[in-house]
């Protein structure tokens, strides 16, 4: 069965490009445009992996990450941070809170993002 990826990102353009790419790679994708909805969907949709942006409306990515890792139902889902922030402070905080990887959007191509996703899913 196709693995399900939840993409929490407020840029609809990125939702579309990465979403289409993931579909082509055979993944099932669901998406949320803000932090609050993303957190709710993580609980109801039970995805195999979450792609999480940091600067999000309604709830910051770090708050979402923390809430996901504190919840027994979601704490084992691998989370890849996908953002354009790249201060060492942000990276350290994300990894400390339990993110699997931290990717800076502008420095990665779609192909490279897919590779990281496959790795996080153990494929």
């Amino acid at each position: 069965m196709a693995k399900k990826i939840l993409f929490i990102e407020d840029e609809s353009a990125l939702q579309k490009t990465l979403g289409d790419f993931l579909k082509q790679e055979g993944y099932n994708t669901v998406s949320a445009l803000d932090g609050e909805t993303g957190l709710k969907m993580a609980k109801t949709e039970k995805p195999d992996l979450i792609l999480l942006d940091l600067v999000l409306p309604k709830m910051h990515g770090f708050e979402v990450l923390q809430a996901l890792k504190e919840d027994a139902g979601t704490k084992d889902i691998p989370i890849i941070i996908l953002t354009n922030l790249e201060s060492t402070g942000d990276v350290e905080k994300a990894l400390e809170l339990g993110a699997t990887t931290y990717l800076v959007k502008a420095s990665y191509s779609l192909e490279e993002v897919i590779k990281k996703i496959k790795k996080a899913l153990g494929e």
């Binding site: 407020d10 840029e11 353009a13 990125l14 579309k16 490009t17 990465l18 289409d20 790419f21 082509q24 600067v55 999000l56 409306p57 309604k58 354009n84 922030l85 959007k105 502008a106 191509s109 779609l110 192909e111």
Partner: protein, 316 residues
Amino acid sequence: MGFKKLLDELNIIARCKKYGISIWQCPQFLFVLMGIVIMITAVVTYTLGTRVAADPETVLLIVLALTVVLFVITFSITRSLEGLAEANQMKTEFINIVSHQLRSPLSNLKWALELLMSNHLGEIKEKRSEYMKILEDNTNRMSELVADLLTVSRLEQGRFLLNKAEFSLTDLAKEIIAIHKPAAEASQIRLKLEAPGNLPKVYGDALRIKIVAENFVHNAIRYNKDKGEVKVKIAPKNKSLLFAVQDNGIGIPADDQKHIFEKFFRSKNALKSQTHGSGLGLYIGKMIIEKSDGKIGFKSEKNKGSTFWFLLPIKA
């Protein structure tokens, strides 16, 4: 050539002019001035010491006066160096903020292009036009940001010229409302104009004032709630006309209000509802209105809404 270079180095006034600061803030000039004063002090002290040592009070007075002059110059140098350090730090901050803001549309462009050019086309072939739209939107986003930055730079350097003439604020408001109506309707926001029929014309640069008025309306729609209302009001006030845009949106928290016209500032509330935005619109607006001999201001309450207004003179 070496000689010419030396002359250029010595042409302190030209160098200071290049930095765009006044001569009394220019470290090079102040150092030369201090050197001259020190030489005068040395000569005067020597002369006084050898000739009029009999009158210690005069010597004391002259030496004191020269010390005060030196003290003032040293103080000015320290201040001007502080100013330079501050400007340097602001520039670094500026570059940081701008590169961050260019990054989001850039990554959108990069990924959309990668997909369009990849062998992964498949069903994307049919979606080509959607991808072209992404390219168009993000290119526009970048050019808007660059245009705002250029405006800021021109305003700050005083190279922003206003073409003042009489024009109708009501006509301007109608034009802006027509442009923004589709966006407002998409969020079920009512956009209304309240302006009496016989208003006089205002004096200013209509194109620049439009930037400010449009920014007010744009913000009122963006930071509104669904099914909200945006009211554009024009009314006479003393020898000016008042242009006000009232919304019942998210409002600005009290502790953010004093920063609202600062460069790059975005309120916590604004960031929560809309992650895009340069924080330059109101800063540019304030500078344009002040250059137009007008006044700008706002009233806001968190979760209740905001009213942004400006006053423009009726006659020159």
